[in-house]
Symmetry: C2
Subunit: 385 residues, 2 copies
């Protein structure tokens, strides 16, 4: 795949500074991908995302296949053109939403049979169909369909789901290669340079993770993701599994930790060799009035901000912090103004993307250990400012 390459440009301990080249541009790693579930990062305009420094966004296959439909998106020239976002896009496979949103889900060897949460329509998502849908969407990075484990799960349940995910990964990869080779005549390929990542599963069981990693690597993908973490297990265990698994993945390929996490999680997982992250936390929390700052988290609803003329975060250079006070943001939030969602999201995403920039700088200057220490000290300090 000449149009998709990854290179590690520097390391500092296990932390890696890298560059992902895709058909829609370059992504500096470690990278955070804002979540644009339905083809829009909630409350944001695309130009605001670019200004905040987003180099890649994530979109959800499950949501887009149901509405407006992947065939419609393909007729619009693919997802980039449809949503007016010229930079790289990663699409997930839909597996997690089938698990978390869909109704009357039945998983068989064939795939996931479920009812749409929108209108109850019966759908079948197979590894092949997940690849087809993402080919129509034309994302730069597609994910294989995996089986998400219903929690809590025994080791046996985790082993069965992991083994099935490996078999699905083989089928998904075979389908992608057929699509690339032009052998699937009824599926338009919106982005011929699309890469595909495999997903390592196995719950919190080290031997299952190892087995999954080896089998997934054996299939061969442009990159590797770690799925099924940050789903309720203790943070230290999440870090340990992410780190152990990352070490088993090829050094020359990007490593993507799915659905993670807090700013501290990002730093800790970069320290363990992870390159890519996505999470709804900055956007969802913003809409709920929860803001991330260099001095810790704050809840803008708090009465103590009613007459606070200072910015959300004195160290932040985002539009919100440059223009507005905590007092005004509290007023907008309590008044139920949509503008609260806009301004808060802009800040939280800026904070996340700035954090990633500072992480990359620290790796480049080989000061990442110091950065990590200071970051954790400040964010773990006594709560909100």
């Amino acid at each position: 795949m000449a149009s998709f390459t990854f290179a590690v440009r520097a390391t500092d301990g296990d932390a890696r500074l890298g560059e992902l080249r895709t058909p829609h541009g370059i992504v500096q790693t470690p990278a955070f991908m804002p979540v644009g579930t339905q083809g829009a990062v909630k409350a944001m305009r695309q130009s605001e995302l670019e200004q905040a420094g987003a180099e890649i966004i994530l979109a959800n296959t499950y949501h887009l296949m149901l509405r407006p439909g992947d065939a419609l998106v393909a007729r619009r020239g693919g997802l980039h053109r449809f949503i007016g976002w010229p930079r790289p896009i990663l699409t997930d496979s839909g597996g997690f939403q089938v698990y978390s949103l869909a109704q009357r889900r039945v998983i068989t060897e064939e795939g996931a049979d479920f009812q749409s949460h929108l209108d109850g329509t019966r759908c079948l998502l197979t590894p092949e169909r997940a690849a087809d849908i993402q080919a129509r969407l034309g994302s730069d990075i597609a994910m294989v369909l995996d089986e998400c484990l219903a929690l809590p799960a025994t080791r046996d349940e985790a082993a069965i789901a992991m083994a099935r995910s490996v078999r699905w990964a083989e089928r998904g990869r075979r389908r992608l290669l057929a699509l690339r080779a032009g052998e699937v005549s009824d599926v338009p390929v919106s982005n011929p340079g699309q890469a595909q990542f495999g997903i390592v599963q196995g719950g919190v069981f080290p031997d299952l993770r190892l087995e999954s990693a080896e089998a997934t690597i054996a299939i061969g993908f442009e990159g590797y993701a770690i799925g099924g973490l940050s789903v309720g297990e203790p943070t230290e265990q999440m870090y340990a599994v992410a780190g152990d698994t990352a070490r088993r993945l090829p050094a020359a390929r990007p490593r993507y930790l799915m659905g993670v996490g807090t700013p501290e999680d990002l730093v800790e997982c970069v320290a363990r060799g992870l390159d890519m992250f996505d999470c709804v936390l900055p956007t969802r929390n913003a809409r709920n009035g929860q803001l991330f700052t260099s001095e810790g988290r704050l809840n803008i609803k708090n009465a103590k901000y009613a007459e606070d003329d200072g910015p959300l975060d004195p160290a932040c250079g985002c539009y919100t912090c440059r223009h507005h006070s905590r007092a005004y943001l509290r007023h907008l939030y309590l008044a139920g103004e949509m503008t609260a969602g806009v301004l808060n999201t802009l800040h939280n995403l800026s904070f996340y993307l700035d954090t990633m920039r500072r992480i990359r700088d620290a790796i480049a200057f080989r000061t990442f250990a110091k950065f990590r220490q200071e970051m954790l000290r400040s964010t773990l300090s006594a709560g909100a400012p």
Copy 2:
């Protein structure tokens, strides 16, 4: 008031091209004022309003007195500083919201006694208190408290409300002059250059309108508004009353038609000598998927836009029209994305503000009659494009 001046720079028929100078900058008239009810134009950032060409916004005294409270705003240095909007602001008097939103309203000669729609708190809004609140807010243009007529109304009811509004206007003016003179020690005056407009009432009865205009002019204000129109009367009657009343107002003062209207209304009322307008139509309709375009209105929900790759309005240069298709905007709207509200509001406000710019250009070039004709022909043509 040296800090508030108005000059008519050109006329074309009854249409006037003017310039309003306020303590927070210049407003070219005819002007449309986007409505920022609670200190924010819904879904907009202040920088977006500026970019769209808004030179003045309207904020609601009723909403702000209840939340966050005018005293808090005064402690923040006034409304401009609190909301981060450096340009002119007009505040209404609260009279209309007492009529339309408040509960258990009792109008006496003293003022309007009501319960807050937020928490049922008992409030008394008098002409003096309306002036005090607006002094604390520090808007550039304050409005006197008037009595809004419950509709349908007989001529007698309209006459009684009009006469009371005149008495209230006298009291409101006296209070403003006392505030200006520093005679009200417990009310901080956030904007010493604040102007005050009187409001002509009288329903759809020409003799009452005339009587109200004469009495209000006799009191003497920096500008004059026409209230109580666009409340259900036939459009032609609204135009006639607005035009007749405008002719009775001093040529050297700005004339503000409150709560009006559609793009066609703006053109028709500029043609009748009106200078300033405000309306929730562009912002509220945007959030409901109703878009104004140079080819008429369109409802973005309509199935015919599902695969329409064109912009909302090919003649529009706003961010939304430059970046996104009707197909994407329809998807965002149906998916319930906040970004739909943002992009649609940006377009509708841009369309309104562009229309005002074109109106001003046409008056300057003395081509307003032609502009008016073409505008009405295109917007009245068979519905949406």
